[in-house]
């Protein structure tokens, strides 16, 4: 065979090679060029009987007869070092060790003696250890080795009567696994075979007719391949025999992960037994790391837990349930009547909710809860299940709290899509509280309303979960209320209200109500909700509901039709009213911990906002999704709401985001805590990742662990402390969305026609003004393009914007946004940019101080010099145009008032003349002060404003006059203000010179003689 796999010059030790498998291995190696050490004690299969050299010698002869080389060894494997020594003496090294020798002491366990146990261990486990251990350093030293351990099906699966043998045999698998790891780097490969072959060990357990077919010759080739120099296999376990060769590996069920926050009980294990043992989904851990992965994952992504009613893990993993419905004017009017509108059918404030053709037709804002709730109830009626909640809860549910927020005034009709999700549940001990989120979107996909339905789940607690917040919110202040409204509920109000969708018989069926323990049907909680909402609108919005943002209430007690509601209201700020409502007849609080929030201005649909923003010039685009600013703002709010977090977590986090770069800090160590842009000294943890990954991580689209494992998230500092960021997961995402809404609303609506929005327009100079000014300059001086021949990219931060100044491609352009390959990229904060362009900050200092980063061609950045020479008025003009177009009413005054500040200072008067007049006077009274300058003619060329003076000290009388002189020994060039500073002693001459602010042409030695300038003014 031309390409026979050979073992030329390889030294192979085969233990127990006198018979059976060992002999087969030895002959194979010998036939293929190896130098074989044939070890055999010559004992019987039970390890007894007298030693005999015959078996080993015979095999040696056979090998030699085949033309091979072999040496015999008669030592016990327990003296493994002697066997290795034989190899060293005969052939000088060891390349391959086949641990094959073995004996049997089969006996059922109850009869087994300590001697039976120990003997098996000595031969199989200790023997393999001794031989391998002696060969190991030789193999390591030369960087080559192949080792075979021989295990047995009895070890892997067990076999009656072979307790000692099974235990020792499987021990070899463990030994090989570790040796494969330790030997890998040194090219020492270790594998284990479980052979099935006729041998002295099997002849007792298998029938003769089968033994015939179990020729050892079917085992040796696997051994040969595993020991060949071309094989890379290591740590493998193989079954081999009768022509079959198979590889084994471990298989593990996915199992069940329990919460590591609560105690694990026997019952918990029993209840998940099927799942634990379910091999329909499995993994195959191949090493310790993979073995631990499951447990680590369970620690890092702890199960939230639950019980038969609530499964928080299911809720978390599930996507929101989507439901659709719609409403129109009829629904709105019916609802309005249901919540008490129409008592005075002539009052415009009543008609506005029910007369769809009226001039000011508005939906009652609290209607924002109805489509969402109807969708949720329909889901239940249809037998649907909300992931995380048992469908078997109806009789345990009480509507405990309600939060409804509308993103803008509800349109007269809408087709809606709802996303419903169990956000979380709190374990209150015996009972539980579930919070169901419903996000409602209109046809354009824009969110119209958000509801948070807090349900009290009687008897559903006790899984050891989070108890949730305990502090009361929206507690009225101690003072008397700022307003009180009293309103009697109609006796048949519930009959009317239920037509809006809550068909629960409890509110209409007297019998049913009695069975529930009530004297008579009670009013719907959400009906009362509508009443109190109207109270706020009446009192604080002048009956115009359009600035109504949100309402939060806790339902404390039942209300009956016919009760008189007394709503007491406290105005906590212009935008927030806290209230509580009592039933006058029973003097009971029925609504508490309640508040209404208002919008500052009437919010517009975003589609509209976008259109307006696009129409307005030069405002940078505001991304509508969350940006890091929103997320950190949201976190800031979360910290403010839960100040306890600061002490508890006691960690400072630094976030380094890239693409684009930004730095953020979450400080949960120093009270009162903060989430802000910027850096912090010595953060406990630093997390570096791309902005996109960060947003995905915070919006649940990316798993931080996966980002970390994938190298996309780098964690510096205390790795463990990073786990404290878990709180982010429990944070109310609404806080972030609020921040988005605030930002998008504020930025995008800047130039909206609405008078109310106009005041948000920045009266200050903004970056856009400057770039618009540059565009004007560019139009005025197209030659600039060819001269600069450079594309500049400005990346501004806080707020972020990007601008491209193209002075390369005629006719040149200035536009927002970035460009593919700019020649220069200048990155700096928006504020520094403004300072730089208004002369308040020196670009060099910004650059040297690291505040201005210049990427690309550093030299090309110098071409920006023209900015300095650009006419400032162009920028002012751009600013005035922006303000003028955006807010006509305010523009006149604001532009006028901003002008003096931004306008170029009126022509500088300069003080040089004054200085030289004073010098003249000084020379007149104190000629000595001329000192070393005597005899010289000097010229001072003063700039800004430009003036020139001649100091002629050559004659008997010093002369100082304006003008120039051809005879000057030295000409000093200096700006007026530097001259003033020099004279005042505020600047040093040498320093001015070194900085190039004082130029000396001619005899510089005269510069040392200018002491007379001191203190002239």
């Amino acid at each position: 065979m031309a390409d026979q796999l050979r073992f030329d010059d390889k030294v192979v030790i085969v233990t127990g090679a006198g018979n059976g498998l060992g002999r087969s291995h030895a002959l194979m190696f010998g036939a293929r060029g190896a130098k074989v050490v044939v070890n055999d004690l010559g004992g019987g299969r039970h390890g007894d009987g007298s030693k005999s050299s015959a078996a080993a010698d015979k095999v040696v002869e056979e090998i030699k007869a085949l033309g091979g080389q072999a040496a015999a060894n008669y030592d016990s494997v327990e003296d493994g070092d002697k066997i290795v020594q034989t190899a060293m003496d005969a052939f000088g090294t060891v390349d391959v060790v086949i641990n094959n020798a073995g004996i049997l002491r089969d006996v059922s366990f109850h009869k087994m003696t300590v001697e039976d146990w120990n003997l098996i261990y000595r031969v199989h486990l200790n023997g393999s250890f001794r031989v391998t251990h002696a060969a190991w350093p030789i193999m390591r030293e030369k960087g080559y080795g192949r080792i075979i351990m021989t295990t047995s099906a009895a070890g892997i699966y067990g076999n009656f009567g072979q307790a000692n043998y099974s235990a020792a045999k499987l021990a070899l698998v463990g030994l090989a696994s570790t040796l494969s790891l330790e030997g890998a780097a040194k090219n020492v490969l270790v594998n284990t075979i479980a052979p099935l072959a006729a041998s002295r060990l099997t002849e007792t357990v298998l029938p003769p007719e089968l033994l015939e077919k179990l020729n050892p010759a079917y085992v040796s080739p696997l051994v040969g391949w595993l020991c060949h120099q071309d094989s890379r296999e290591t740590g493998g376990l193989f079954e081999v025999g009768a022509g079959m060769v198979n590889k084994l590996r471990w298989e593990r069920t996915v199992g069940h992960g329990y919460s590591v926050k609560s105690e694990l009980q026997i019952e918990d294990v029993a209840s998940k037994w099927d799942e634990i043992c379910d091999f329909s989904k499995t993994t195959h851990p191949a090493n310790i790391a993979e073995s631990m992965a499951g447990a680590m994952d369970n620690i890092n992504n702890p199960k939230l837990g639950g019980n038969k009613w609530i499964d928080l893990d299911e809720a978390k993993a599930a996507k929101p349930i989507v439901a659709e419905n719609s409403y129109d004017q009829r629904d709105l009017s019916l609802y309005a009547l249901g919540v008490g509108v129409g008592a005075d059918p002539l009052a415009p404030q009543e008609l506005q909710y029910v007369y769809e053709l009226g001039e000011n037709y508005h939906a009652v804002p609290t209607y924002g809860v109805m489509p969402a709730l109807n969708a949720f109830m329909k889901l239940q009626v249809d037998g649907g299940k909300l992931p995380g909640l048992s469908s078997d809860l109806l009789d345990r549910v009480l509507h405990g709290e309600q939060y409804t927020e509308i993103k803008r005034p509800l349109p007269p009709q809408a087709k809606l899509r709802h996303e419903i999700k169990l956000r979380t549940a709190y374990d209150k001990g015996k009972d539980a509280v579930g919070i169901i989120d419903v996000h409602t979107f209109d046809e354009s996909g824009e969110e119209l309303a958000y509801n948070e339905i807090t349900t009290f789940l009687r008897g559903c607690g006790g899984w050891g979960g989070d108890r949730g917040p305990s502090a009361d919110v929206n507690v009225p202040p101690a003072r008397e209320p700022d307003a009180v409204i009293e309103e009697k509920i109609g006796e048949s109000q519930a009959l009317l209200y239920r037509l809006s969708g809550d068909w629960n018989p409890l509110h209409i069926d007297p019998e049913f109500a009695k069975n529930f323990g009530f004297d008579r049907p009670i009013l719907h909680g959400l009906c009362t909700f509508g009443y109190v909402g109207r109270h706020i609108i009446k009192q604080f919005l002048g009956n115009d509901p359009r600035r109504f943002k949100s309402i939060k209430v806790r339902f404390a007690k039942s209300v009956y039709p016919g009760d008189t509601l007394v709503t007491r209201m406290w105005k906590e700020s212009d935008l927030r009213i806290v209230f509580e409502t009592r039933v006058k007849e029973r003097d009971e609080v029925v609504i508490k911990n309640a508040a209404v929030e208002l919008y500052e201005t009437i919010p517009l649909a975003k589609a509209k906002v976008k259109a307006v923003a696009a129409a307005s010039t030069a405002t940078s685009a505001q991304p509508a999704g969350p940006i890091p600013e929103d997320i950190f703002k949201g976190i800031g709010k979360a910290i403010a709401q839960a100040p306890g977090m600061v002490g508890k977590i006691a960690t400072t986090f630094a976030f380094k985001l890239s693409a684009p770069d930004s730095s953020w800090v979450i400080d949960l160590k120093n009270a009162p805590g903060a989430a802000r842009a910027g850096d912090i000294d010595k953060p406990d943890v630093t997390l570096s990742l791309s902005q996109a990954d960060f947003i995905d991580m915070c919006t649940g689209k990316a798993d931080p662990q996966k980002l970390f494992m994938g190298g996309k998230l780098k964690i510096g500092g205390n790795l463990m402390a990073s786990q404290k960021l878990e709180f982010l997961k429990t944070m109310d995402p609404k806080l972030v969305m609020d921040a988005v809404a605030e930002r998008v609303g504020a930025g995008g609506g800047a130039s909206a026609a609405s008078a109310a929005a106009a005041p948000q327009q920045s009266q200050e100079l903004i970056a856009a003004d400057i770039f618009n000014g540059i565009a004007k300059a560019l139009a005025a001086q197209p030659a600039m393009v060819a001269k600069a021949a450079t594309v500049f990219q400005f990346v501004l931060k806080d707020p972020d914007s990007a601008w491209t100044l193209d002075l390369k491609n005629a006719p040149g352009s200035v536009k927002p946004g970035s460009v593919d390959k700019p020649d220069v990229t200048l990155t700096l904060s928006d504020a520094d940019f403004l300072d730089m362009c208004t002369g308040k900050a020196d670009p060099q200092k910004l650059f040297m101080g690291g505040k201005l980063k210049i990427g690309g061609n550093l030299m090309a950045s110098q071409k920006l010099e023209f900015l300095k020479t650009m006419d400032r008025k162009l920028v002012e003009q751009a600013q005035a145009e922006r303000l003028g177009s955006g807010a006509p009413a305010a523009s006149a005054s604001s532009v006028a008032s901003s002008k003096p500040a931004a306008a170029e200072a009126p022509a500088k008067s300069g003080r040089a003349a004054e200085i030289f007049a004073a010098l003249s006077k000084k020379f007149g009274s104190d000629a000595k002060s001329i000192n070393g300058a005597a005899g010289a003619v000097m010229v001072f060329e003063v700039s800004e404003p430009k003036q020139s003076f001649v100091l002629d000290l050559s004659g008997p009388q010093p002369k100082i006059e304006s003008g120039k002189s051809a005879n000057a020994a030295a000409v000093f060039g200096i700006a007026d203000e530097d001259l003033v500073a020099l004279v005042k002693g505020e600047a040093e001459l040498r320093d001015l010179y070194q900085r190039g602010r004082l130029r000396v042409d001619g005899d510089i030695r005269l510069a040392h003689q200018l002491g007379f300038l001191q203190k002239l003014i």
Binding site: Q844, E865, Y993, R995, G996, I1004
Partner: protein, 393 residues
């Protein structure tokens, strides 16, 4: 036991303007082949190669040396800013002197971009950050090329201290062009009047355009060997290295802040001092000098740093024409960097080449009569300064 190190072969290309040069390895090949031919030995006799360049990815040295032969010898890529070439020479000298090799090649080459030197890596701390800080503190940062600001600033400081005329700086360029007019290897061989020099565009007061060396492309090479090797190859009376020293920045480069010190004045002073001690030869005995004149201001400072004139005496030294033929010592007979341009990796070996020719008496029209002792000064900001003394018996 230190062994004598002989320079048995030198060679260089004529430097070319950026954009019009051959590939770097082709220039290196030309210089290397010239040096081998000059030494009269086959490339196979070279045991190690030290290759210097600043701009280029790793192992440009191998790419270049492979043009000479593929003998599997060790090749070391050296990068030490403007003193890269001399740094390669320094390592080559060490290998021979220490008995580690018998014959080695020092090869420098550079393919440069147009315009003033700038940073290539803008995503990390600049190596000259500490130096730049001194400059920013003392004089701010302008639009001028950074190196011109540094050396020009040192010129300003010197001028203020010593009352030096601006024209004194200009005189150095005038002399350089006179020397260059005799050097076929000089890129800028035409003479310039002092007026022309002073009237050229101001780059950074007091430096004008003609007082700044331009970037060029080129290569230089030197073959160094032991006495035994020279004898075996029948090379008699070769030029040898009588002393060589390399210094890097001392504390004085940064504090107290001084532009003169920042641009490596003390590196020059100390390296020269060490070389004079090693060789037992003082500045007065030097016949010819190739020194680092990237700007006229740096040449002026180097006169004093090398001790060719007393401190504060440079102006007199210049106006007395002590820096040229007929004066005390001929400085930059080749025309210097001001006339040849400055291919960073090649400059140090081009200086070496010129001095070997001078000591052999083969420098033609620009030959310094009877030159026996030559001094080389090559300085890089960042920084490193290599001063080498050559002799021929």
């Amino acid at each position: 036991m230190k062994r004598r190190v002989n320079v048995i072969g030198v060679g260089m290309t004529k430097f070319a303007k950026p954009g019009s040069s051959p590939e770097y390895f082709e220039m290196a090949k030309e210089a290397g082949q010239k040096a081998l031919a000059d030494a009269g030995i086959p490339y196979e006799a070279v045991e190690q190669a030290y290759t210097g360049y600043v701009y280029g990815d790793s192992t440009c040295g191998q790419r270049s040396v492979y043009e000479l032969g593929l003998t599997g010898i060790p090749v070391f890529n050296v990068n030490n800013n403007c003193s890269t070439g001399s740094t390669a020479l320094y390592l080559a000298r060490q290998a021979i002197e220490g008995g580690l090799a018998e014959c080695v090649l020092a090869l420098g080459f550079e393919k440069m971009a147009k315009g003033a030197l700038g940073a290539k890596y803008d995503d990390r701390e600049q190596p000259m950050g500490k130096h730049a800080q001194v400059m920013v503190d003392l004089q701010g940062f302008t639009q001028a090329p950074p190196a011109a600001q540094m050396f020009g600033g040192a010129g300003r400081e010197y001028r203020f201290l010593h009352g030096t005329k601006k024209e004194t700086f200009g005189k150095i360029s005038e002399k350089a062009r006179v020397h260059a007019s005799n050097n076929p290897y000089a890129l800028f061989g035409q003479r310039l009047s002092l007026d022309e020099i002073m009237a050229s565009e101001e780059v950074f007061d007091p430096l004008t355009r003609f007082q700044c060396c331009p970037p060029t492309c080129g290569a230089g090479a030197a073959i160094l060997c032991s006495d035994e090797f020279a004898k075996k190859h029948n090379i008699s009376n070769p030029v040898y290295i009588a002393g060589q020293s390399m210094t890097t920045d001392y504390g004085s480069s940064f504090a107290p802040q001084s532009m003169i010190k920042m641009v490596g004045y003390d590196m020059t002073v100390q390296a020269a001092k060490q070389v004079y001690e090693q060789s037992g030869i003082g500045p007065d005995d030097v016949d010819v000098v190739e020194l680092h004149d990237c700007f006229t201001a740096s040449e002026l400072l180097t006169y004093e740093g090398l001790g060719l004139c007393p401190e504060g005496g440079a102006e007199k030294f210049i106006w007395d024409a002590d820096n040229t033929y007929g004066g005390k010592v001929v400085t930059n007979p080749s025309g210097g960097l001001l006339s040849k341009g400055h291919p960073l990796g090649a400059t140090g070996l081009a200086q070496c080449t010129e001095l070997v020719w001078q000591l052999r008496g083969t420098a033609d029209k620009r030959q310094v009569a009877g030159a026996r002792v030559a001094l080389q000064h090559n300085l890089g900001l960042g920084g490193a300064c290599v001063v080498t003394m050559y002799r021929r018996d």
